[in-house]
Amino acid sequence: MENVLAQFSQVVGKFPDRIAITHYASRDQKTDITFSELDQRASRCADYLQRSGVHPGDLVGVYMHRHIEHVVATLAILKSGAAAYSINIRAMVPQVNYILGVSRTKFLFIDNTALLTLGTSEEILPDTIELVHCAGAKMNPVHEQLLEKIRTSAHVQTHPCAEVHFPVGTHCPVVNHDTALVLFTSGSTGLPKGVMISHQDLINRALTECRYFSITAEDCLLSLLPFSFDVGCNQMFTALMTGARLLILNSWLPGDICSVINTCRVTGISGVPAIWTGMLDAADESMAKALSAVRYITVSGGDLPLPQLERLQRLAGAARIFKTYGQTETFRSSILQPEEYDKKMASVGRPVRGTEVIILNKKGMRATANEAGEIIHRGDGMMLGYLADVPATRKKIRKNPLRNADALTPQFVVYTGDIGKIDEDGYLYILGRKDKMIKTSGYRVYPREITDRVTAYPAVKEAVVFGVADEKIGKRIHCVIQLKPEAAATEQEIRHYLAARLPSYMVPAKIYFTDSFPRTESGKIKNSEVEKAYNA
């Protein structure tokens, strides 16, 4: 049966000496690892885990920045029969502790960057945790000191993977519906939820991207996104499964991205809107030339406003742009393919193969064409559930409401909480979050309908729209705007512009300006924080 480890083994057998991963730290500092080396290191490390008492069904964490050791650790955990998860390296100790607790983790891989956080925090980790420290090349006196300090309150094993030469044993059988990965969603509100992904689903998620993006062993994929984030994590697996090279770059600076594209012959980039808006701000001819050499790029993990998408298309020239929509709980629900851009640019495309997207209207019926309602996902990509959170799982995964209640086999779907519509050609449009809908003067307004207009104003880079309680009209609409660098605009100018393009009840009552928005680790604007800051 197919799973990512079996696929990876095949790749190792086929291309043992090819470079699997390059970590690009700067122009003169690159580290490579071949497929056979990666496999051997992961196997040794898996043996270490098994000998240390890791059992199938356990969860083992990786709290590291994105480098080769991170991939070694993830593969090792899967090989040992356990399930893997990553904690974003910028998480602080209370968040780390929360995740360790909810996942009942016994082993946590850490690196030097994690030492900086763990060693300087006043909070300590639970003493049941075994830390597995993978130093990497650079260990400076500060790291040594912090490591010593951490040792006073925690168990630390130092790098078991490179030096220990256990005979490599047989690894655990992989059971398809067992949990392979847990992705902790960097929820914009509240505590992170652990989204459990099965082995079956992990390979389906990876295969979906391999097919749509036509990824082969000849590709070189630029890894810019955290492995704790579904898009970044999936890209890593697509590379390992196909034999493509994964090029790790821990910088979103346009200068670095262009330089890596040029020197390492990158063929595919998975990006989020924040990366592309950064690139557009610094766009010039050399960037256009670099991007045109890339075979495909993606806009994932959020939507790029239309004017920016159009600019990106012009800038990227020959590169094929895929716009994707999904949630951590569903992975890919739909993809807009490059050849569909001209007609359906405002949409997020059609459902990916193996999935169905349903719009459920207010009456709980399948919506008609262009009727708005909640987006329901069915088929491939569905999570197993939230880790240790049955109530939240029951709210998110429910019985298919459109299926006959007497059906012999129950069928489950994911309620995304997103509002959207499907047009007469089957293309999906996202209107916003269900809980962000603004009822104003008796109208239902989704922030997206307004932000699309606001960001079309030439001086505007990004905008957040939300409702503020109002006795008379229900909610007043407020808008916070970040202007493009060196651009200027007044509240009045923008209001005039919007008044000519939107019905009056949609024109924001108040417009604020900001220098920057608070963002999640994957670059998404934290809407709730913005709302709170301006609603006080």
Partner: protein
């Protein structure tokens, strides 16, 4: 222009920025990676650049902002020394 104290000034700017952006009060060695290690994200480096520009009265263009020039206190110091002549 004399280059005395450039590294000290850079260190202090970076330490303040790291403290502000991450809450980390860490001792920074001149070879500690800032961006590649994941301590600072490359978007927050923009604030650091603003401080450096005003402190050393130099212009730093988008093309200069790369890992080679800005990943460590050592490389930032080197960059500023070259710029200030």
């Amino acid at each position: 222009m004399a280059h005395d104290g450039v590294e000290e000034k850079v260190t202090s700017i970076i330490a303040t920025a790291v403290k502000e952006m991450t809450g980390l009060a860490i001792e920074l060695t001149s070879d500690q990676s800032l961006i590649d290690s994941g301590i600072l994200d490359s978007l927050s480096i923009v604030n650091v650049i603003k401080c450096l520009q005003s402190e050393f009265s130099i212009d730093i263009s988008a093309g200069d902002i790369t890992l080679e020039n800005f990943d460590t206190i050592g490389s930032i110091t080197q960059f500023i020394k070259i710029r200030t002549g």
